[in-house]
Symmetry: C2
Subunit: 427 residues, 2 copies
């Protein structure tokens, strides 16, 4: 253990602080597991003078200098898919330094090129913290569940969305109310778009799909829908049918193509994903003949995310230089997008309509014309004169058929608001 493994950290926010603290508190144990003394030798962040409660060894104002110094490994916790974060990771790898990052956006967009660079330099690029916080799911997919191939990965990957949906269910309040409260408590960002719009989930899904299927990340192929339009009514109706609404990132093998999508889904109340509550994350992996495996835990926050970063650091220090996405970058397959609209499932549909004769007949007719058949229906009158909610569960049908029907139904002057369509997960 005479030759210390030198670590430089760029970014000392919540996660960076957590990494520094864990290295300080358990450095001996972690060094023993790594087989080398872990030494934090340099740090950089925006504000040197911020009160942090820990020492700042080897401070530098210029994070890029960490990529040129004597560190063996650079931890990138700055964030963002371009700018300084990208420059830091590229420079560090180019200079033969291992890199550990929690930067999902960077890897979702530039993962393939960065993997090429890392492997050409014989160093490793690790990103466990980028996918589901503390849950060791990247490791499980990259190294654990490889024997029979993966058919599908389905994850609750954004704690903010799951917290909002859980609160909406338990309190009956609207999306807007719960979001506002979450922002006041610091659980949601002032600009919540990346979370509630599904973009953050999509970044993470791109990485999970890559390690699961041995394909290069293909963020642009992901269809993304957020939770902004989910109403308290939708959640209450879901509950009546024995379902919960969750924002899922789903990547499925369809023949030789991969369908990647982020969308709200109805999941049956007794299934593992339905029972992922509050800010937690959960991932279901369908591993072919080996069956389904489920992983859950805290997907964000100081200690869970630092836990994933530390695991990557220890692994890099131990000398394990494995391919970034499980397969050598040169042999990563291009991800061929599947036709996501061909995916078959039952659908939940909600229409807000005027309480006048003929509306239901018109909707039912449009559905029939598009080949969508109804399994069950609830029509609920609200206050006199207010729009009526019509909720339907369809038999199994494709997204394309449902969209065709809704395109015909939407323009009617009897239909208020955009109809809501949510797929129902089989299991």
């Amino acid at each position: 253990m005479s030759n210390p493994f030198r670590i430089a950290i760029a970014g000392l926010g919540t996660v960076g602080g957590g990494v520094v603290k864990a290295l300080a508190a358990r450095g001996d144990e972690l060094s023993r597991r790594a087989g080398r003394t872990l030494a934090l030798t340099a740090v950089s962040a925006r504000d040197k003078n911020k009160a942090r409660g820990f020492d700042l060894p080897g401070w530098t104002d210029d994070p890029l200098s960490l990529a040129r110094g004597d560190a063996d490994l650079v931890v990138e916790l700055i964030g963002g898919d371009e700018g300084i974060a990208r420059a830091l990771v590229e420079t560090a790898l180019a200079n033969g330094k291992h890199v550990v990052t929690a930067n999902k956006a960077l890897l979702a967009r530039h993962g393939r090129a960065l993997a090429d660079l890392a492997e050409s330099k014989g160093v490793t690029l690790k990103f466990e913290a980028a996918a589901a916080g503390g849950i060791p799911i990247v490791k499980a997919l990259r190294e654990g569940l490889i024997a029979h191939g993966v058919d599908a990965v389905k994850g609750i990957l954004n704690g903010t969305c799951n917290y909002i949906l859980t609160e909406m269910e338990s309190s009956g309040r609207s999306f807007a109310e719960v979001l506002k409260e979450a922002q006041a408590k610091g659980y949601a960002e002032a600009d919540p778009t990346l979370d509630v719009g599904g973009g953050d989930t999509a970044h993470k899904l791109a990485l999970l799909a890559s390690v699961a299927f041995g394909t290069a990340p293909n963020f642009d192929a992901i269809s993304v829908e957020g939770i902004e339009h989910i109403t308290a009514d939708d959640i209450a109706f879901a509950s009546e049918f024995g379902f919960r609404i969750k924002l899922l990132g789903v990547a499925r093998r369809v023949g030789d193509a991969i369908d990647q999508k982020v969308h709200p889904a109805m999941v049956k109340v007794r299934t593992p994903l339905a029972n992922v509550s509050g800010a937690a994350n959960g991932v279901m992996v369908d591993a072919g003949e080996a069956g389904s495996f489920f992983f859950s835990g805290r997907g964000a926050g100081e200690a869970p995310t630092a836990s994933a970063v530390i695991a990557d650091i220890v692994e890099a220090a131990s000398g394990a230089v494995s391919p970034v996405f499980g397969r050598p970058a040169a042999s990563l397959l291009p991800l061929k997008p599947a036709d996501g609209k061909a995916a078959i499932s039952p659908w939940y549909l909600r229409f807000e309509v005027l309480d006048v004769p003929g509306v239901l007949a018109a909707i039912a007719g449009n559905l029939a014309d598009a080949g969508v058949s109804i399994e069950s229906m609830i029509q609920r009158v609200r206050a006199p004169g207010a729009p009526v909610a019509i909720v339907m569960i369809t038999h199994e049908t494709s997204q394309a058929c449902v969209e065709r029907a809704l395109k015909a139904i939407g323009p009617s002057d009897k239909v208020r608001a955009r109809p809501c369509m949510i797929p129902m997960e089989a299991a």
Copy 2:
């Protein structure tokens, strides 16, 4: 990839067959992930002529010869903690070959010595398949959740027991009836002792505790209780209180000691462990500040177990030679057993008593004398003249206090059968 990684397999039962088939079906993909061509070069099993549906390369009648041949890695799937399995693993390691095994009994009893041997020879000894079948929990504990230390591991680790308990709950039938059916269907062994008595769970727990806490496996320190005495009544009463009965293996840090026990426990119906159904396994890890993480999936059977074996083979082939139990064997701490009877929880107690005056008063008096206070009680009359079931939930109290009370109550001629005591999990 010009230098193939030579694999020899001893034992071609369910799991061995699964490994051969997966290597045949996905050898190219797995070789790519390993960075070396995986080549199955030799096999041994009891009966060469058994119909297996796959070729037998390099057959030998003598499994020990695999440890002396030209294999880089020997897969031991013979089983048993002594005899040929132990000799094979020891000889293979001594000859500088990597070893992958699913043999929980061997490692639970001789893990420390085998780890010493492996590390002294610079080879690796891997055992993902020995703990929870296909669930990559050894990897998660050894490499993933190391940053903040583990406070506790709680697992449903035996699919046979969980299948029996699940069937008892859904059908209301007795342990004996369900066991008999499980044996007829091949879900339980002709001699079910190792499963239903908790021994198999204890073997697995010893391994999980070792990787979680950095201690040498200490199988003999585990207190073990099986599910043979659980009645349909216990399961029905549990349900009334909002709990399910599961056979848990629990390893908890208590100061500088570790409490390891296997026993039936009441778990709340909405918790992840309670929702592990049928033959599945599930493990909850309390990872200090990082929070709790849950893992579930198939814990036995051909493909899931082969999945874990294959993951270990690929990792060994990739050149990762990490410490067997996460820490170098020389620095594994001795596992100091905690006083398990000091563990505090609410308890479920069931007494079968004669329907005569004064019985309840006597039981209540004995409990009070031992310092056990009652939170709630159900007394249920059965047929006239038949024993009456008295069920109590205690306030939090130690196992030692409950045992003291039961020792006083047991000998009464008004009490039929051994009183049943089951701890209730807090979460």
